[in-house]
């Protein structure tokens, strides 16, 4: 697993994290290319199924990035998202995939640095965890 490059899906709220990611861009702050962003109107829009499917399809890590406490454009979508992520973590622990592959992070639109730093930290963490155990079977399936 020396050259393991994890694939990480980041569901980013349009109003904060997605903008922060753009800002990391305009500041040219490098972070690992492993993170791929899917834009959502609010972190509260991220369905538990989306997170599960991402892992089932072979993503090594998933995180949901919402606004800071009290900053949600829709009042409390970020709080709901955080609870949902906590629920999924437990479920993943139960099936032995490991809840630590999923995270909820909060940031404001101005936090380009935080975005880059979070992306780096999560990538490192997932790299240490190693590949999503479902992946080898998926590969075998594709090969077959």
């Amino acid at each position: 697993m020396e050259n393991f490059e994890p694939v990480i899906v980041a569901f980013c709220c349009h109003y904060c994290a997605y903008t922060a990611a753009d800002m990391a861009g305009s500041k040219r702050l490098c972070y690992p290319p492993n993170v791929k962003i899917i834009k959502v109107p609010c972190s509260g829009k991220v369905d538990a199924i989306h997170i599960m499917k991402a892992l089932e399809m072979g993503a090594d890590g998933v995180y949901v990035a919402g606004c800071l406490d009290g900053d949600c454009h829709f009042k409390n979508g970020n709080i709901g998202a955080a609870k949902r992520v906590a629920y999924i973590k437990k479920l993943l622990d139960e099936i032995g995939i490991g809840g630590e592959r999923v995270e909820m992070v909060l940031m404001s639109a101005g936090m380009g640095e935080r975005f880059a730093q979070t992306a780096t930290e999560i990538t490192e963490k997932i790299r240490k965890l190693g590949p999503n155990p479902v992946k080898s079977v998926n590969e075998a399936k594709t090969a077959a």
């Binding site: 599960m52 089932e56 139960e94 099936i95 479902v134």
Partner: protein
């Protein structure tokens, strides 16, 4: 509504271990409302089961179907076109639904994904509480609309036991003492006198004591 909770994943994985292709059947009634076995939970469990299998180097094909109501034969009939492709069925309905499927498809193993818990009400979003035990002879008219059968740990019919402290049950201080609630309610209704009336011993034959029950409406029977 009938409330239920998902069984531990380990138990579910264990009973599906011998199979490669299953039908995962949700129910669009009570268990959807209590977020235990609706279309969404079917999607999440399907994903979780497949991942659990893949992690062990195996695969599990899951066909997801959510029926309008699993406890009615006409809806269960919708499974006919899919049942042959599946080696087993996992039902996310209450016990009624599981048995309905098992009864219809006699040669297929059918497994419950949920523990059916109680008949209850939503206290608020995400919290369900037991309100009825289906005893077959409702006493709510006598008890100010609060059921001592479902809400008193000892099912007492004539006042609280000695364990009632500050309006809470001795079984768990988070549980309200049903008889305290009944008293408060009678007082609010100005019916304190009723508290003195004895409720006669209950005939439990209308409940589980008389064995499995059945309702027949002659006028509706075809």
């Amino acid at each position: 509504m009938i409330t239920a909770e998902r069984k531990p994943m380990e138990e579910l994985i264990e009973c599906l271990r011998p199979y490669h292709r299953i039908l995962l059947v949700g129910c669009n009634e009570c268990v959807t409302v209590c977020s235990a076995g609706g279309r969404k939970e079917v999607g999440i469990l399907s994903s979780a089961l497949q991942m659990a299998f893949m992690k062990e180097g195996k695969t599990l094909d899951v066909k997801e179907i959510t029926l309008e109501r699993q406890c009615d034969p006409e809806y269960v009939e919708e499974l006919v076109t899919h049942i042959d492709q599946a080696e087993a069925v996992m039902s996310m309905a209450c016990g009624c639904g599981v048995q309905e499927i098992a009864g219809r498809f006699k040669s297929k193993p059918v497994f419950p994904a949920l523990n059916t818990t109680f008949m209850g009400a939503s206290e608020r979003q995400g919290v369900w509480v037991e309100r009825c035990q289906g005893c077959g002879e409702c006493v709510l008219a006598l008890t100010g609309g609060i059921c001592p059968i479902a809400r008193c740990a000892k099912q007492l019919l004539n006042g609280p036991c000695g364990g009632s402290t500050n309006g809470k049950c001795e079984v768990d201080p988070d549980i309200d003492c049903a008889w305290q609630l009944i008293w408060d309610r009678l007082k609010a209704l100005g019916l304190e006198d009723r508290y003195e009336d004895n409720i006669a011993a209950k005939d439990w034959r209308t409940g589980r004591g008389g064995g499995p029950r059945k309702i027949i409406r002659e006028d509706l029977v075809k």
